[in-house]
Amino acid sequence: MDLSTEICGIELTGPVLNGSGTFDVLAARRVFGDALVEEFPFDCYVSKTITMNPRPGNPPYRLWETPSGMINSIGLPGPGLEGFLERDLAGLAELGVPLIVSVMADCAEDFEVLVRRVAARDEVAGIELNVSCPNVHSGLIVGEQPSETEALMKALRPITGKPLIVKLTPNVANPEEVALGAEAGGADAVSMINTVKAAAIDPGDNRTWLGVGAGGLSGPAVRPIALAQVRVVAAAVEIPVVGMGGISDAESALEFILAGARVVAVGTENFRDPRAGSAVTSGLPAALARRGFGSLAEAQSARLD
């Protein structure tokens, strides 16, 4: 079955991306060797979120397992913009699939620099704007306010003709309002959901488990929340939606497409199986056929009652 598709002009061999920050290909290549590239599990690679300056990330512990999910408080460790462009970008360009670079900043000026410098590179097919990370306290969480999101998009839109994808936070009462703000500001797509604010208590001591007290929940536990948000957002905006949140197999990926997503991303499931992306793709033809679809496009255009 033909699974090829596109998202805001980026041609894809299939609809399966990775969630930003859930698959460091450079590390994975060290561990698994060239098999990683030869059998690359995604149709498009989304980088971990890049920031202006290098960041060490949050103090340990950064992880806790929860019922059918996990909490992370990674805190965006990374080499910063220059380190990324000089050291990492070349390796990401060797994967044979389009590259989307995720960026985040705590002010519009830095966002502008990030978008300008990243978009200037031929290796980069599109840019994802992470306005939603619950771990970095920027004072202003842009992605919580429709008007702030629209203003940021209006500032960034003139910088590049390459697709700009806004990654929404699920921690709002009405995500469709933020999505409408992104669309009004000129976004080419929205991706969702990022992690849901969460905390855990140390099983052995009377303290919170995570080094910074709280983090973000992901995995199958949040899938019903993600499906609800994708559904309302896809119904509200014209631009396409990249759907994610607890996708663990082809059936759950297809649920997101039925809820209104154009393409999907696999995050936490990569930790359980490094080839989870391939498993989703290989299961899609049967999942589509079982629901009576002759092609991916049919499912993408199906509308739920």
């Binding site: 561990v31 060797g33 103090p59 340990p60 397992e65 059918s68 990674i74």
Partner: protein, 287 residues
């Protein structure tokens, strides 16, 4: 003589048959048949998840669990026999311990860094001192075997809380060059294994020592301090919560001595004593 580069893990998780499973002195030992993977190197670990019934009553375990191999052998009908030593501390380790022969277990790996040889750590090294605590005796056991195979002398110091937390010693260690410490005094030296290490270092020429250690964070930090103070090279096999084991999630952060964090799954689990800021990162501050 140099240790070989780390073996490369096959891409993806693979089902392995459980060949054996039994209790051992408060711990649990089980054996998996890995027909695809390369031979692991001392210090490395695997990510394991019982298949298909991973996912328990309370929705956990959900992620795979990092487990060091405790012994490797060739399987008669091909592939490797991998032994694992398990301390049941929560839903993941309990589920693994409850697997039965014939069951299937998802495995990814081998992952992580390997122990150096004593001469790589210290050109003067006459042999190795292995300091294991509790479940941390597993990596020490594989290192000891490799040293035996290479004809390098080693002494093992193993510490336990009590008899109920001392599984695997008889099976994994020859009795000859091994000394035991029990905190409750039920056998061997009464007290900490670090007492034994200090005794040994006083008797020995510290400049010819190379120390290796794996065990609970407080023990590792004590071993680290003892060695750093005496400028004795030491390698530690650390633990940290892990989601993926292959560098994908950035979850397994351990603070480096010079600031920032390393990812324990790919930059460790074996680290040099001077490389890290503490072996107790994330632990509640004591005192």
């Amino acid at each position: 003589m140099r240790a070989e580069a780390r073996p490369q893990a096959p891409f993806g998780r693979r089902p392995c048959e459980v060949a054996d499973s039994r209790a051992s002195g408060g711990y649990h030992i089980f054996t998996l048949i890995d027909s695809e993977g390369p031979a692991p190197a001392p210090g490395q670990f695997y990510m394991l998840a019982a298949a298909p019934e991973w996912g328990g009553e309370g929705g956990r375990p959900y992620l795979p669990r990092a487990i060091s191999y405790a012994r490797v052998a060739e399987n008669l009908t091909g592939g490797l026999r991998l032994d694992f030593l398990i301390d049941e501390v929560g839903p993941g380790t309990s589920r693994l311990a409850r697997m039965e022969p014939g069951d299937s277990c998802h495995l990814t790996g081998p992952f992580g860094s390997r122990f150096s040889l004593p001469r790589e750590l210290n050109p003067e090294a006459a042999g190795a001192i292995l300091v294991g605590g509790g479940i941390g005796i597993a990596p020490m056991a594989v290192l000891r075997r490799e040293l035996v195979d290479r004809g390098i002398p080693s002494r093992s110091l193993l510490g336990f809380r009590d008899q109920a937390h001392s599984g695997g010693v008889d099976e994994l260690f020859g009795c000859d060059s091994t000394r035991l410490a029990f905190e409750d005094g039920s056998s061997g030296h009464k007290g900490y294994v670090t007492d034994l290490l200090l005794q040994l270092l006083e008797g020995d020429d510290a400049s010819s020592a190379a120390v290796y250690s794996c065990g609970p964070p407080a023990m590792l930090e004590a071993v680290r301090q003892i060695c750093l103070q005496r400028e004795i090279p030491v390698e530690l096999a650390l633990e940290s919560p892990m989601a993926c084991g292959y560098g994908a999630c950035f979850g397994c952060a351990v603070p480096k001595a010079d600031g920032g964090y390393l990812r324990l799954c790919i930059d460790g689990p074996v680290v040099r004593g001077e490389e890290i800021a503490t072996a107790m990162a994330g632990e509640p501050s004591v005192g």
